[in-house]
Subunit: 279 residues, 2 copies
Amino acid sequence: MDIAALLGKATGLAFVDCSASSETIRMLNQVVDMGCCVVLANKKPLTSTMEDYDKLVSYPRRIRHESTVGAGLPVIASLNRLLSSGDPVHRIIGSLSGTLGYVMSEVEDGKPFSEVVKVAKNLGFTEPDPRDDLSGMDVARKALILARLLGRRINLDSIKIESLYPDEMGPDAMSVEEFLGSGIVSLDNDVQERVKRASLNGNVLRYVCVIEGSRCEVGIQELPKDSPLGRLRGSDNVLEIYSRCYNKQPLVIQGAGAGNDTTAAGVLADILDIQDLFP
Amino acid sequence: MDIAALLGKATGLAFVDCSASSETIRMLNQVVDMGCCVVLANKKPLTSTMEDYDKLVSYPRRIRHESTVGAGLPVIASLNRLLSSGDPVHRIIGSLSGTLGYVMSEVEDGKPFSEVVKVAKNLGFTEPDPRDDLSGMDVARKALILARLLGRRINLDSIKIESLYPDEMGPDAMSVEEFLGSGIVSLDNDVQERVKRASLNGNVLRYVCVIEGSRCEVGIQELPKDSPLGRLRGSDNVLEIYSRCYNKQPLVIQGAGAGNDTTAAGVLADILDIQDLFP
């Protein structure tokens, strides 16, 4: 530990983690101790244990992680501004997966779920194994990051997660080929039924994250066609934030929530944002 | 000038201007020279001459002015993030007046313009003289602040401004009472005509600011009913930002764009945001 760190000062070095790995967590613990700033596009370190999390954010001014939620969309920056102004956030609801946003708006148009997923995979919208998206785990990590930002001391396993495929079609039970070839087709009717039922109520289905009080969950919800989330088409992300200042009508942030360009732009803006800490 | 200023360092003092006056400009010039940070809710200093503006932003890290546009909505912070990441912004279109947003969505419902303005005044949505809102000057100041943020070296008089009342009904020609009592009624038919014409094209009228290339203007535009701006109801503000990263679909920021609470929250978040400059 050098003299700057002993004095509790920032060293003027930033450690930028754009991996998708859990293996950086130990290294991040060390660089925080060394007085480095931390910029993350990697969600894993922020969704590890509370102990790891507390360590990571122990100098709140030295960490930025805009691109962990909604890529470069100014979600974290905006939430931090609300929180630092003392405006209590009591509800967040959002569609934070471009992949699932695309899937839900396509099945809304009557296309079979299995077909939509295959097209999404061919368009490069999904992970190589689309179940990584359909499991909801990626959205759950984003929800956890937002919930912890709001001060909730919870872990990934306290989040209610709805998977879009049953356990018996999981990666342990069948290959990607089997899943796409025969497994997923058996889910089509069920999805179509749900879409129809929602439509009869004038609603649409969206895969959303909801954080409200002690509740933190991700899954399919029936939402009014005529709401920011209901109107969402394609792969855009949208986040509605309700607070004391944004009470009846939420603060809404919407736009592309994935992509190399915007993710990199978010990381770069984060790095520039901490420049005042560099001596 | 003290030693900190001589060294080009920030003094650790912030000068916060929440007035609506031009008279602070000279004082602001001085505090910038003294090495102070500046936080503004006041639009006037940023919409003065280019010389005053250049002086004010001469240390870009030491100035924040979120609440000058859309109150506490994270408009300036988000634009600054885009710009600092090198993402070129090529088009901004927005509804930045809660008052005019309310007026335009009420006349869309068939209510007479004069009635809507009177109700808005009674609800406290307008300035004591509603012509201060209807002139478009307040929106033009916000447009100028955004345009200068994007690097345009223009002044207020280079902005094309559409006023919602004719010169012969201006404050020099008649009192507020005369304007509201007899003047404004004569505008009802014209507004109703425009609303109808737009409606025949499936469009609605919105009072917007547009910044694109060398173009910077504020006024009524016909917009698709089914666009973020067209769907806007009541007094919410909305801003659509088009850049390289947000190309086909814009980055959208929406929510309450006026009110004491959210304006104060924006100022407070700005003050906290510059804390790293305080030794």
